[in-house]
Amino acid sequence: MTLTSSDILKRLADTIRNDIGPAVSDEYIRTQAFMASVILSKLSKQLDLEAAHNLAEEADVEELKLRLQTVLSDSPPSVQYQLNNFLQQSHIMPLTSLLTALHEWGVNNSEASDALGLIRPVLRADIDRRMEIAT
């Protein structure tokens, strides 16, 4: 039986938390051991979930691309430029620049507001996935 990388990290985290950390007398070093355990646990969880999270992100992004192209067809060049950049990607990070451009255009504008309405559920889904690891 072979352990997965995620399993190994989880076991390392448990050993540091339960065996190594408590044996350290210096408070600072003991805190560092505890933090190492926390970080290894999160990395383990991240490895476990990474593939599923990436698939979900890509699916969300593909659907959003189609909808944004319709909503933002008459947007100014600054927004069009960032939209085009986003359309060439398969992850959410380019939405950072697009959101900045939308806010600069003005969210009182109905197209910008509609675009925000489409983007925010995708961001919500993404942060929910990240929270599975963070908490």
Binding site: M35, V38, M93, T96, T100, R120, D126
Partner: protein
Amino acid sequence: MSKKPTAEVSADDLEIIISNYLAKRLEVSGNVSISDLTRIAVGWSHETWLFDADWLNNDGEHQRLELCLRRDPGNALLREASDLEEQFKVLKCLEKTDVPSPKAYWLELDSGTLGAPALIMEKIPGECPSPWRKEGRKFYTDAAKREVLPKSFVDALCSIHNVDWRSCGLDFLGVPAMGKDFALAEIAKWQSLITDSAHPGHPILADLIGWLISNAPSTERLTLVHGAYRTGNVLIKSDKVSAVLDWELQVIGDPMYDVAYMLTELNREDTDLLSNVVPRDLFFRRYEANTGIEIDEDKCRYFQLLYAMRSAAFWMSAAGLYAQSKNTDLRLARTEWSITVALERAAQELGY
């Protein structure tokens, strides 16, 4: 408490350095004895050491000072946002006011003198229970029942907001124009920290910043603002605030910035008591009566979103320090996931 050596100096070496330094500063011909030198293992910014200094003056009389040393190790969180020189100047200005704060004695910016840039100030008696620990929260819950600390805690905040900041020289902090300048300057400050962190961030942060810029409130009354007024950042003795600490984020700005920090759920746990110790109605009544400032809850809600941005910026800066190998403290590495928590909160506050 930890005796862990810093990157630059061990506790034993530091004891000798301080002794020699004080002998010179106090113009003592004999030895200055340093005792109980302890590094406080809290805080992520400057190193903090507590100690007592004893010596005989030139008439042979015993003298004692109880002191606190803050050192800049050169790789601390927020060191660009709050340098020791500014902290020293603020404490000097506050000596002329009613704000309970430690007396500042000496500032040494030359690393050769105390091993790193440092300031020495008065060690004020009192305790500082952590509101993030169970025993700390019990301390505050019990104190709330005795009804003395809640009033003192509010009064100390009022004393900050009532400071005549211009006459005591605090205008060196920079004075925003009336209107949106204060909010916009705070956004710019934290944006700069985010940029310096070299962290990729997340689109929610762009959405949040865009919203903050579009909805910046107008400030019509400027006060001294502490910037992080909560339990855990004040010393308490006999149920009264003996000193307000952590003068690292202070600005001249909108008093609602501090009030929002009092009201936020982020600064309390398992309780309705503001900052774990003050009943909400007592706070509103006493704060408004003592300052003459009406609490604007809408503005406070705005500033709570600004705090979400600030939290994200802190954590990005911390994670960046670790990622860039500037600081090896694993607590900083851990903050990578705290960014997610801050942004999730921001998304909720933005309504999604």
